[in-house]
Symmetry: C2
Subunit: 143 residues, 2 copies
């Protein structure tokens, strides 16, 4: 079996958050939205339905933890969860916190406008805190 390698576009557009049992968690480098990208570390998959049953269930746990953490961030009223992949074929799932005053509301964030990168250091700190919260939530579930 070939090895999993993160797609270079995903690596270039994001900051690293954490690694979970199945997935790498990335933070889109766009300070306008709390926007996570969850990438199952399985090579050569492009569609959710291609995940094996155990991986699919683990992905759901990881998506739910990411969604709940974003939903508790200030202002956030809706979580968008989407597997698109029209541009980057490697299977990945967007989890985006949304609210009525964000730039793309009520439309989708994808293709809306160019990202506004975090200030130096801020993105890394944001990613670190989100990673801690996601790991904490998954640990609580497993107890």
């Amino acid at each position: 079996m070939s090895e999993f390698r993160l797609h270079p576009t995903l690596a270039a557009d994001t900051l690293s958050v954490t690694t979970l049992a199945l997935s790498q968690v990335l933070l889109m480098n766009d300070e306008r939205y709390p926007w996570l990208i969850i990438v199952p570390q399985r090579p050569a998959l492009t569609e959710l339905y291609q995940l094996k049953s155990g991986d699919r269930q683990q992905l759901m746990r990881e998506l739910d933890a990411a969604s709940q953490v974003l939903h508790t961030q200030p202002l956030m009223s809706k979580i968008n969860v989407a597997s698109l992949g029209n541009l980057v074929p490697q299977l990945h799932v967007h989890v985006v916190g949304r609210h009525a005053a964000d730039p793309a509301w009520p439309g989708p964030v994808w293709g809306h406008s160019a990202p506004v990168p975090y200030a130096p250091g801020e993105g890394v700190e944001r990613a670190r805190r989100l990673g801690e919260e996601i790991l904490g939530r998954l640990a609580k579930r497993d107890r």
Copy 2:
């Protein structure tokens, strides 16, 4: 517990496809895309993470069947799966077949342009055939 009722916007924008163990399946009345909307029949939910574990697993089975059926339709090269709900709060999941020559490619279909309704009779027939295929695929899985 209150009763599940389909949100009137979802009802107005779609044709009925079939009802599965958990969800109603709808076909967006837009002949440009094979576009299903899967609505878990649980009242008052707005986010995927709010589904109970058994319902979440059943939704995955239903989404996978819908995705696989759309992926086998002519031309389709990518399946987009998304829970958005910025406009219609009732929990629902889009499953959309995409290809490089569709009007919105590679952008998202949501908010791209006004739908082009099916000709009379055509949408109903399309919905009927998709419903048969989804039910057939779920039955095969359960054997």
